[in-house]
């Protein structure tokens, strides 16, 4: 469906609210001041997501949550492996690098951080649209970003061809960036954007 400039502004607002929630939650969790900004938002056909993502075989940490409710869909937050490493070390209070591919404690910490981030955006979408949404338990993959995303795109259910994409940047921890994607199920986008009065 066609996305207007107004709707993109709404999406940016959702991004701002979401990153505000995420920053607050992370500040509490990591006991330090964290700010988050949203440099870019997109509403694009899902085939084009890979173009924004860049190198498809770059390792990234991907958190995937299914969203239930009136405007169901799939929510994803992913960040570069270096960012994931910094975040997990901060969370676990460790100075040495952890093996994010096999260390279960590290993966569990990563899943927790990712869940906070992804939930922050889902709550923002819900607040903005007034439609209640419930996230599932999170699933984690630390692997090539292209591989993780194609698996999410193709998993059960028919997707809308438009994907909402929110770029986020954190400050307070050095060099951390991440991206949030919401893939609305068929029909959900209209409900979401309709509910925002646009």
């Amino acid at each position: 469906m066609e996305i207007t400039q107004f709707q993109l502004d709404a999406l940016r607002e959702i991004g701002n609210i979401g990153s505000g929630h995420a920053a607050t939650a992370l500040s509490t969790l990591l006991q330090r001041r964290i700010d988050m900004s949203v440099p870019k938002v997109w509403a694009i056909p899902f085939e084009q997501v890979t173009a924004i993502v860049g190198q498809l075989d770059t390792p990234q940490a991907t958190i995937y949550v299914k969203v239930e409710g009136e405007a169901s869909g799939k929510a994803v937050f992913f960040f570069p492996i270096e960012s994931a490493q910094i975040m997990v070390q901060a969370l676990m209070g460790r100075n040495e690098p952890l093996d994010l591919y096999s260390d279960e404690m590290a993966q569990s910490a990563l899943k927790e951080v990712g869940n906070i981030l992804v939930s922050s955006f889902i709550i923002a979408i819900s607040q903005f649209s007034g439609i209640p949404l419930q996230p599932s338990v999170p699933a984690l993959a630390v692997d090539m970003i292209g591989a993780s995303l194609d698996a999410i795109f193709l998993e059960e259910g028919s997707l809308e061809d438009t994907v909402l994409f929110i770029d986020t940047q954190l400050s307070g921890i050095p060099k951390i960036a991440g991206q949030f994607i919401f893939l609305p199920d068929d029909g959900s986008l209209k409900k979401l954007l309709g509910a925002t009065g646009l």
Binding site: D143, A147, S148
Partner: protein
């Protein structure tokens, strides 16, 4: 110098030796590699779903059945002999699992089954099948030698 030709998602490309075909970050998608060892030509398709049946049009390169037909047609069009064609495939992983919830529909597995069936139906021997697991793959296919180079992040690297 060899050219490296990138094959995107839901896309297919053909090449002549010494060119290399590449597709990066295969998850539950599958890379189908076909070549004629004598003529040293071949192609690669990056398919996403098992079958175009029931889909509303769209890009035929997205589906195992329709993509293979297109790929074979183009390779044969380059002068390859159907009876000499050989296949190697990689991908079809299950990247995520949710605790306590077995996936109803393992799309990677279904893709692999569909690709194998379609190859069989078209009479193309499948020499190598590196499918499944829970990890991504990046593949390079040398259409001259038929060598398939498979790289993963944390599950090694091999040439088959």
């Amino acid at each position: 110098m060899n050219g490296v030709i990138n094959v995107g998602m839901a896309d297919y490309k053909t090449a002549r030796s010494p060119d290399i075909l590449l597709t990066a970050g295969l998850g539950s998608c599958i890379g189908i590699c076909i070549h004629d060892p004598l003529l040293k030509v071949g192609g690669m398709a990056h398919i996403m779903l098992p079958s175009a049946v029931g889909s509303l049009g769209g890009n035929p390169a997205k589906y195992a059945d329709t993509a293979l037909v297109l790929l074979l047609k183009e390779i044969v069009g380059m002068g390859a002999n159907n009876s000499r064609l050989r296949a190697k495939i990689a991908g079809g992983a299950q990247m995520f699992s949710f605790p306590g919830k077995p996936p109803v529909l393992k799309i990677g597995e279904r893709n692999a089954v569909a690709v194998e069936q379609e190859l069989k139906r078209n009479g193309i021997p499948l020499l190598v099948s590196d499918v499944g697991g829970s990890f991504g793959r990046t593949i390079h296919f040398d259409v001259g030698t038929g060598e398939l180079h498979i790289r993963t992040i944390n599950h090694g690297e091999k040439v088959v």
